[in-house]
Amino acid sequence: MSKILVLAEHDGHQLKIASRQAVTAAQAFNGGVDLLVVGADTAAVAASAAQVAGVARVLRADAAHLAHPLAEDVAALVLSIAGEYDVILAGHSHFSKNVLPRVAALLDVAMPSDVIEIQANNTYVRPIYAGNALLTIQSQDPKQVLTVRGTRFKAAVAGANVSGAVAEIATVAVPAATGAARWVSEEKNVGDRPELGEAPVVVSGGRSLGERFEEVLGPLADKLHGALGATRAAVDAGFAPNDLQVGQTGTIVAPDLYIAVGVSGAAQHLAGIKDSKVIVAINHDPDAPIFNVADYGLVADLFETIPALVKALG
């Protein structure tokens, strides 16, 4: 039986959905799944993580220098316990993308990233060329290090170990800070909207929204309790914050409902939305490529349509 380590991400209270999706992906390896929780004080997170279905053991790595975990330090931590595991896996987030290639290189193994399907015998499917092709690869390495595209795996249920089977919580020794890097500051876009990668509804806008991006799209996102997203062109022009970029080189989303407003539908953008359950496109150009992937389309001016839509939603 193989031993699997999932590198978790959390908000200080509970696991991110991406980590619960990674727990589900980990079950494909048929082994015991340990969850590594990193932070300055992970007591609360560990307690809630211990109730996630499919988790055998929660490992707490607490240290002052992990309050804002840096790639160098987290990689050193993972390496210090890597010997016990056959598989090390995480969601394909900025955090894991930063850490796991370091781990893989130091273990001298290749790393399949953004895996959408795990098959038998260390075989994986992953998108390449902005999702225009799917590559199936088989790892030849003794240890597997990989990231998975969360939206392809159903999140393991939180608080599902109701049968009383709460996972064991253990503490791991944390190596000293490497000193190679130092955390300086962070600027998070505060607000009540859900995180882009986790939201069940995403309202996305293109560059045509101009300075009125938030004014026009904000009310629609709020009405639907959704997140805002944007094209690269809208972000580059400064109409939307950087972290709202959806696509091949931004965030990949797969909400129940994706509403693309004044978005042309470039290949790089489509790469990030193709797994959405329902796509709605609103664009005044009937030939815009976005209509080729949209379930429902409205050929209309967005500045008139969006306020009308907000109103029609009651």
Binding site: N98, P101, A104, N132, E186, T249, N292, A294, Y296
Partner: protein
């Protein structure tokens, strides 16, 4: 301060690639190739550091066949001082690329290595982090601004929900994100001049590095296409469809 910038030759981002009928690979025969857009941003950032007097030399390096001279010439035309081609026609994967780059970094001893955050063909997004790990130095990925001060590089990183700023001791690896800068337009005379500049060519196999692929390619397939849906006539019709047909409201 010397800066090393790895540049990769990839299929131009305007091209929509297709898969070979036998499912063995993507079909890129005859398509337009270009410098990986993130690497062009990396070269631009290195040049700006040089132009502002913070760097002394910008060295571009590419791994691949002789055809990769194109992208090195592009980097030279932008203003890079030197170019190195690690020549091989073998299949490359991120770990192997990182090992080869480490061998060159050991020789060139740059203080800063600016790498693209991802190559738009393989979309792996690993080389920079692997290279930093192999060199035993720090890294700042997804850079949207970069500043050198007091033996450190301070980088604002694009992460979920906003920006995180970190400071990394030099030497360091930085991976370039889209908003780091807007690369300069390469003028034709510069491109002509760059054609005459020498490119140092080293056989990758001579570096004593094992870069054999570890991931065996089994097949390449077209993804399932999403079917186009219907165009509706009014906002009311849309709301009704979303409620009653799609059940997402």
């Amino acid at each position: 301060m010397k800066i090393l910038v790895p540049v990769k030759r990839v299929v131009d981002h305007h091209v929509t690639i297709s898969v070979k009928p036998d499912g063995s690979d993507v079909d890129i025969a005859g398509v337009k190739m270009a410098i990986n857009p993130f690497d062009e941003i990396a070269v631009e950032e290195a040049l700006r550091l040089k132009e502002s007097g913070q760097a002394t030399e910008v060295v571009a390096i590419s791994i691949g066949t002789a055809a990769s001279q194109d992208v090195l010439r592009h980097a030279l035309a932008m203003g890079a001082d030197r170019a190195i081609l690690l020549e091989t026609d073998a299949e490359l994967q991120p770990l192997g690329v990182a090992k080869l780059l480490k061998a060159i970094a050991d020789r060139e001893t740059p203080q800063l290595l600016i790498v693209g955050k991802q190559a738009i063909d393989g979309d792996a997004g690993q080389v920079g982090q692997m290279l930093a790990a192999l060199l035993g130095i720090g890294q700042a990925t997804f850079a949207s601004t970069l500043k050198i001060a007091d033996g450190e590089v301070e980088v604002a990183r694009e992460v979920e929900g906003g920006i995180e700023t970190v400071a990394i001791k030099l030497p360091a690896v930085v991976t370039a994100d889209l908003r780091l800068n807007e690369p300069r337009f390469v003028k034709l005379p510069n491109l002509m001049m760059a054609k005459k500049k020498p490119i140092e060519t080293i056989a990758a196999a001579d570096l004593g590095v094992d870069f054999t692929p570890r991931l065996k390619r089994l097949s390449v397939a077209e993804p399932q296409a999403r079917a186009a849906g219907v165009k509706l006539n009014s906002v009311e019709e849309l709301v009704a469809k979303l409620k009653n047909e799609a059940g997402v409201l």
